[in-house]
């Protein structure tokens, strides 16, 4: 089960094979853009009608399903991105096996068999811990590995449920406006909660990639019998965790707030609530995306450290 969530291919997997995850992910990306194109055309039509009198109901209906479809389009592309990240994860483990297989033949014999002194060392990439065996996964890495799949599943379900509700809302615009407004609040809250879950799933996948880099790097060094150097958690990684948690909390908050607004009767109160809730839900996604930036920066740093360590092993043997 652990290997399944780490997406670790079985030993002997064809390392030359093209990634199916990449194909599926990019296909989902194109589907998402096609859906967004449909909402753009819909928006142009709605804008034209908005300039004419007596078309308020039609414009309202177009806006209702367009919102649901646009958020579904973003969700589809984000899900595609998650699938591609799974492909990266699988490919990283194939890389670990390849480096394990090749390094014994590439390293200089001179440094082999040197005594390992556990402790810490300073590197150009920050402080690293030296140990005899590969480090155990950190709590955050174990959490990330366990949670990326449920988060993606919950996100996809919430976004789709919101889209279906937006279609129901469309049928109520002009017929029962109070109900349609209430449903509008539920659609926004549900779909952005789903988007938040999807981005959290992507964040947890990035966390799993970081955990795999740490574990895989340790395994390679341990298999060679050299001191296992593991980069200490950089500041960017700590900030990533904080921003991800904050962003997810904002999305949960906006969902609860929209659920409350859905019970309001007064049009003025509803309008003012919608006015501040829209940017809040977008800011929540912005915070999650900011966390993703820091996760990617951390991956870049971890890769730089790993390459420098491989070069060191090849050059000195230890």
């Amino acid at each position: 089960m652990q290997d399944l969530l780490e997406v670790r291919p079985a030993p002997g997997t064809d390392y030359r094979a093209r990634s199916r995850f990449r194909t599926v992910g990019l296909t989902l990306g194109f589907v998402g853009v096609a859906l967004a194109m449909a909402t753009l055309i819909n928006g142009i039509a709605a804008g034209v009608l908005a300039g004419r009198s007596g078309e308020e109901v039609t414009v309202g209906r177009l806006a209702a399903w367009s919102f649901g479809l646009a958020t579904t389009a973003f969700g589809t592309i984000k899900f595609g991105i998650a699938v591609i990240l799974v492909g990266i994860l699988a490919q990283l483990w194939i890389r670990v096996e390849a480096v394990k297989w090749s390094l014994p033949a590439l390293r200089r014999a001179a440094g082999a068999g040197e005594t390992i002194v556990p402790g810490t060392v300073e590197t150009p990439y920050g402080r690293a811990t030296v140990s005899i065996s590969a480090p155990r996964p950190l709590l955050i890495h174990r959490m990330a590995r366990a949670l990326w799949a449920p988060m993606l599943a919950m996100g996809a379900m919430a976004v789709l449920a919101g889209f279906i509700l937006s279609l129901v809302q469309t049928s109520n615009v002009g017929a029962d406006d109070a109900l349609a407004t209430s449903q509008e609040a539920w659609v926004a809250g549900l779909q952005f909660l789903g988007e938040g879950f999807l981005l959290s799933g992507v964040s947890f996948l990035l966390g799993t990639i970081l955990g795999s880099l740490r574990k895989g790097g340790g395994e390679v060094q341990e298999s060679l019998g050299v001191g296992v150097r593991t980069l200490d958690m950089p500041l960017t990684a700590k900030l990533f965790v904080g921003l991800m948690a904050l962003g997810l909390m904002v999305e949960v908050f906006q969902f609860v707030a929209y659920a409350v607004v859905a019970t309001f009767d007064d049009a003025g109160t509803i309008a003012s609530s919608f006015a501040w809730l829209g940017p809040v839900r977008e800011a929540g996604l912005g915070v999650l995306l900011s966390g993703i930036v820091l996760a990617l920066a951390t991956i870049g740093k971890a890769l730089g450290f790993q390459f420098s360590r491989i070069v060191e092993i090849v050059s000195t043997g230890s």
């Binding site: 853009v33 300039g51 414009v59 973003f74 591609i84 890389r95 912005g286 991956i299 890769l303 420098s308």
Partner: protein
């Protein structure tokens, strides 16, 4: 430097490791400034939205409410454009680490350095990223123009505000989708690079053995 294309990849062969290429160097320098800009834009959008909500709740002027209705998405989507740029630049930095690090390992092993040429997905990554950014920044600029016109007392702009808002919303959505697709291409390039490096590192022991 020679370009060779066996094993299904097109790559350059050099004696020494290549460093980051131009887009990767730009990415390494700009991901953080873009992130900082995004982290400033989102709270600013929330503050403007709170002012607008207060205007609506207290029966404020239609001009102010309509103008803020354009300024809020302008600020928020400036934030999205910045954060997507930061993500794209961070991906470019990762690709740079692979290019530079992969070369250094081959150089340390005393072998020719084979560096993957920019794959088609990387070119699409740059293309969609540029397109997404231009669409989003275009929409932001038009929102600012509309908001400024309304704030300046233009009754024509006030009359057209709903229509413009609907059009710009559609454009913004398409811009976001395009940007996200660009990011998907950037990430899929990492898979290609990893595949190439796995094939290359498995070739090295045999080359070292033959070279003695």
């Amino acid at each position: 430097m020679a370009t060779i294309g066996h094993t299904g990849f097109r790559f350059d062969v050099t004696r020494r490791a290549l460093g980051f290429n131009l887009p990767q160097r730009i990415g390494r320098r700009l991901w953080l400034p873009m992130l900082v800009m995004a982290l400033m834009a989102f709270p600013a959008g929330v503050i403007l939205a709170a002012i607008r909500a207060n205007e609506i709740a207290t029966g404020g002027s239609a001009d102010t409410i309509a103008a803020l209705g354009h300024f809020v998405p302008a600020v928020n989507f400036l934030g999205f454009a910045s954060v997507f740029a930061a993500i794209s630049f961070a991906i470019a930095t990762i690709l740079g680490e692979f290019r530079s690090g992969g070369g250094k390992v081959q150089e340390a092993a005393g072998r020719n350095v084979e560096t993957l040429r920019m794959p088609g997905t990387a070119k699409l990554f740059l293309g969609f990223m540029a397109m997404g950014m231009m669409i989003l920044l275009g929409a932001v600029a038009l929102h600012v123009v509309a908001g400024t016109a309304i704030a300046g007392g233009s009754s024509y702009a006030l009359g057209k505000t709903e229509q413009w808002a609907i059009w710009l919303e559609g454009i913004r959505r398409f811009g976001i989708a395009t940007y996200l697709l660009g990011i998907a291409f950037g990430l899929s390039t990492i898979i290609t690079v990893l595949r190439f490096q796995v094939v290359r590192i498995r070739e090295l022991p045999e080359e070292v053995r033959i070279a003695g």
